[in-house]
Symmetry: C2
Subunit: 337 residues, 2 copies
């Protein structure tokens, strides 16, 4: 196969000037072309398998057709469905996704975002924000349209799409209270993430106790869950139900409870958050708050597309997608209700 067809080849074949061919192929408003001419150009383009050179177009139009997707760790099970949703919507709009994985490292985040900007991404989807994330906060001042997913930055004027964690937590607490639990403890993830804070505030609101037991962890991981569960058993043995900050923390609780000879849910109820793969295959299957992750990604992508199209300068719009409590086998009435 020879070199690929250019707009000049198309124009030549259609017997018109390249500029005319370009106009015919780009149904933009000004300078319409005659229907018959347009037909010939389109036909020629099809025959030649013409695809505009993105570099040339981008150089001219200052648009790359690229969106950067910044994730904390693609191997974290919460992230892939979000990316799927984003990717799906953006490809449909003719935009490609540059994936950037920060590995939860703020320096790497800064470097990758700089690189993404250097590559002239038309927009950014950011899933890595910490509450005090300077790098991300600065994006609000810059010209590159940005949408946050799941994690918010405090005080930054950036739109956010996330799961409605508060309502999920309220449903979880209501579920536990209906079962008869009165000693419910909350084992959180890292406080620098907005998700942790949203869940924590909702827990405090819903639990109906002045000073509920809350233990803070350093990560959203199984080891964190183990550490916290061990602390909980030692300091607050009267607890009958655990609301874990996420599913991994809940699994850590499973481990420690089993080691302590306590049974879930008979001796302790456990609720997770996220409904990640396989938590329904644990023993017992985990009751947890499901988040519509793919829809979150899709919605974020749509908002970004609107911005790219020049719409809505409504800075920090927050779009919360409905969550759902999935009741499984890890919750039951307390022993001595």
């Amino acid at each position: 196969m020879g070199r690929r067809a250019t707009i000049r080849d198309v124009a030549a074949r259609a017997g018109v000037h390249p500029a005319t061919a370009s106009r015919a192929l780009n149904p933009a408003l000004p300078g319409r072309v005659a229907a018959e001419t347009a037909r010939r150009v389109v036909e020629a383009a099809r025959e030649l398998g013409y695809r505009p050179d993105p570099a040339a177009r981008s150089l001219r139009t200052r648009r790359s057709g690229l969106v950067g997707v910044v994730v904390p760790d693609i191997a974290n099970p919460v992230i892939p469905p979000i990316v799927r949703g984003v990717e799906n919507v953006l490809w449909s709009a003719g935009i490609a996704c540059l994936l950037a994985d920060t590995d939860n490292d703020p320096d790497r985040e800064a470097a990758l975002i700089a690189e993404l900007r250097a590559r002239r991404c038309d927009g950014l989807i950011v899933a890595t924000a910490t509450r005090a994330d300077e790098t991300v906060a600065h994006l609000a001042d810059e010209e590159v349209p940005t949408v946050l997913v799941t994690r918010a930055v405090e005080g930054a004027d950036l739109p956010l799409v996330a799961g409605d964690d508060a309502s999920g937590v309220r449903a979880a607490v209501a579920h536990l209270r209906e079962l008869g639990h009165e000693r419910i403890a909350h084992l959180t993830g890292p406080l620098e993430l907005s998700t942790t804070v949203r869940r924590l505030e909702a827990f405090r609101d819903a639990v109906g106790v002045d000073d509920p037991v809350v233990l803070h962890g350093e990560g959203f991981t199984i080891p964190t869950g183990r550490t916290l569960a061990a602390q909980l058993l030692e300091r607050h043995p009267e607890t009958t139900a655990i609301l874990a900050g996420n599913d991994m923390i809940a699994v850590g609780c499973y481990d420690v409870l089993a080691a302590a000879g306590l049974r879930v849910p008979d001796d302790m109820s456990v609720v997770g958050h996220n409904d990640m793969p396989l938590v329904d295959s644990l023993s017992p299957p985990l009751t947890t708050v499901a988040i519509p992750q793919e829809e979150i990604g899709e919605q974020a992508a749509r908002i970004l597309l609107d911005r790219l199209a020049g719409d809505s300068p409504d800075g920090s719009a927050v779009r919360l997608m409905p969550t759902e409590l999935v009741v499984r086998g890890s919750t039951a009435p307390p022993r001595r209700a």
Copy 2:
């Protein structure tokens, strides 16, 4: 902030011609610049925060600095670690990853690969190949360097990086036979995937029985595992150990065995493949073959980088990365050995 600095701005500030500035910034071989000049240019570039415009550079050099990463489903837990490895190595080399998710749809795969080519990706990493994948097979004839991961195409002259499934399966079978199992059944995934065939062949080789029990499934999913396990119990009740095509199929087995009142591992041993997240938290924790997924991704990226650098036209090199049998609680000696 005004418009971003161009090479002309840098050149002006350094008091040299743009071409000289370009040479100073690109430590390519021909046309070296004087050390002092280079220093001034680099300094000027730094002061101005100069970043070359990728579109302009790409238009000139015919290199986009982009690699397409084609995955069957980013939400499939096997995939993200691979992508991480790829992404990590490529970013380090100054190359960005365009993520394309085919959702296991051959038409979508064809469309996305066409799009990736239209966008002038310098190379492709493809994790979606089926054994008879025409779209991917054609890539061998094209000019765009391509590396396959995990899944091979039959007869295509394309390098592949994958886990050494055969050795993993051999280790698994050896483990079961050492425990005393003689009736080992293999429940496979879809036959159109090369992974299935590799694992199946290794199983046949290792099991030491003329006509071992093999049941074929249609997917690598929990429902598939359930279907196959149910068939197995009905048709081959003498079986004492199951080698599942992957972890999801193994989990499906767990479900059906429990429903049938059979205990793992006492009544039936089960071995998975992949060692995906949380299989170590199942009851019992799953014995499985771990695959170095991130290393596979890294290796694939390195091979692609070599190709981009013009190295090694050794077409269909196959690089198998060592797997490891992780023995957990789902395997034990058979009841009546």
